[in-house]
Symmetry: C2
Subunit: 228 residues, 2 copies
């Protein structure tokens, strides 16, 4: 369902310095894949995730999403993909500072045109699934780091997307809460959805079926999870 | 050197709901301690760290820092503690968005009145120690999550404080980079400094000599690291 070839993302910093965040990436993701992307800090994982989520465009290379060239899509098609087909959990959460938890989680449903009573109900359910049922009126600065991370996760899942891209979803969570979130992802995977997560923790990665390792903007290895 | 007793931090959210972020904490930290604070998401770890770092005041209870009551200190004394005695690594980094890495790291030296050439040199050294020597002119949005985390770490260390408070310092780092940062903390500890870190990862916690576990705003256990 995702086919990217020869993807490069270059940042030109003047003075003849170019940062090669992605330096030639070929990757195919299939329906119902469960992928863990790993690699050193700065190796290009978030940049790759932003490409896959249609949130950023490559400097070179091609991206076919469900058989169609993303570079040829208009704004409406792209918005539909980002809002309804893909659920994205950002490494730095990207929550609205002045909105409550419930409002933050309900935002994708607003863009999807869901009526008010229905979206508040769906947002409430999503909050309960990540253990934040008693935090729905808190704003982000009234939440702990791990609670903010869970708001970002609930928001990504509320539109029931079939592809979930999660960038370090358990980075701020203790082991028990982290495993509760992973149980949620496992369940979504068993329902037929596609899960791609970036993580640096081996026991979190172990839930996935396929390991992709990045190094200096390139894919170093792409293999079946040896522990399954 | 740090003596807190019966510390409570309560948030009043109206409608007769009170969040008890810290619910009666007694704690003594000694010179050259190496402490790992652990506990579930939302259990009060960051709130406790903010108390210890004199960045927030308790609702009830007392805090003696090096024998003096923090509640009796004036703004100058508190500023001196926060800027020179304690180095604080925030869970959400708190970097200046419009400033470069070097400028962000050099900030505590500006407040300490260090002259320009000397602080740029010290900031450069601090950046190299966390592996960011080639990222000094990047702004935060031009850095990866783990790189931003390392800017926050370099900034906390640049004034050579004797007490380091680090809230999830390796949450966004792969294992290898995380161990490089822990080697840095181990070295600082061996030089006589006091290290207090919040972490949810067992192998990171294992560098510490003393484990404190929080649960629902209270200390559940406080023991020597059984693995040492
Ligand atoms: N300004 C606030 N108003 C209301 N509640 C708050 C506020 N700040 C924090 N809290 C609550 O206090 C509790 C403790 O928060 P804290 O940030 O200390 O947790 P933590 O242990 O650091 O969690 P994490 O591991 O997720 O970072 C949380 O349940 C949080 O919702
Ligand atoms: N706007 C930008 N300008 C210049 N360089 C950038 C920019 N954005 C990212 N980079 C660089 O691209 C590289 C890859 O960044 P990316 O965020 O993808 O890394 P990552 O693998 O997610 O790292 P981490 O594990 O630390 O989150 C980094 O070295 C970073 O400094
Ligand atoms: Mg990243
Ligand atoms: Mg915290």
């Amino acid at each position: 369902i995702i086919d990217i070839s020869r993807i490069e993302k270059l940042y030109d910093l003047g003075k003849a310095v170019t940062v090669r965040a992605l330096d030639g990436v070929d990757l195919k993701i299939y329906n119902n894949d469960y992928v863990a992307i790993m690699g050193p800090s700065g190796s290009g994982k978030s940049t790759l995730m932003n490409m896959l989520g249609c949130l950023d465009t490559p400097t070179f290379g091609q991206y076919f999403f469900e058989g169609e060239d993303v570079a040829e899509m208009d704004d409406n098609e792209l918005a539909f993909i980002r809002n309804q087909k893909i659920g994205f959990v950002f490494q730095s959460f990207n929550l609205l500072a002045r909105a409550s938890t419930l409002r933050n989680v309900e935002l994708p449903l607003v863009y999807a045109g869901i009526p008010k009573w229905e979206r508040q109900e769906k947002a409430q359910v999503a909050c309960e699934k990540v253990g934040l049922g008693d935090r729905i009126s808190h704003k982000p600065n009234e939440l702990s780091g791990g609670q903010r991370q869970r708001v970002a996760i609930a928001r990504a899942l509320v539109n029931e997307p079939s592809i979930i891209l999660a960038d370090e979803p358990t980075g701020n969570l203790d082991s028990k809460t982290g495993e509760e979130i992973m149980a949620l992802f496992d369940e979504l995977h068993s329902q037929g959805n596609t899960i791609i997560l970036v993580t640096h923790e081996e026991n979190i990665a172990n839930h996935a079926h396929r390991f992709i390792r990045l190094m200096d903007g390139k894919i170093e290895s792409d293999e079946v999870n040896p522990n399954r």
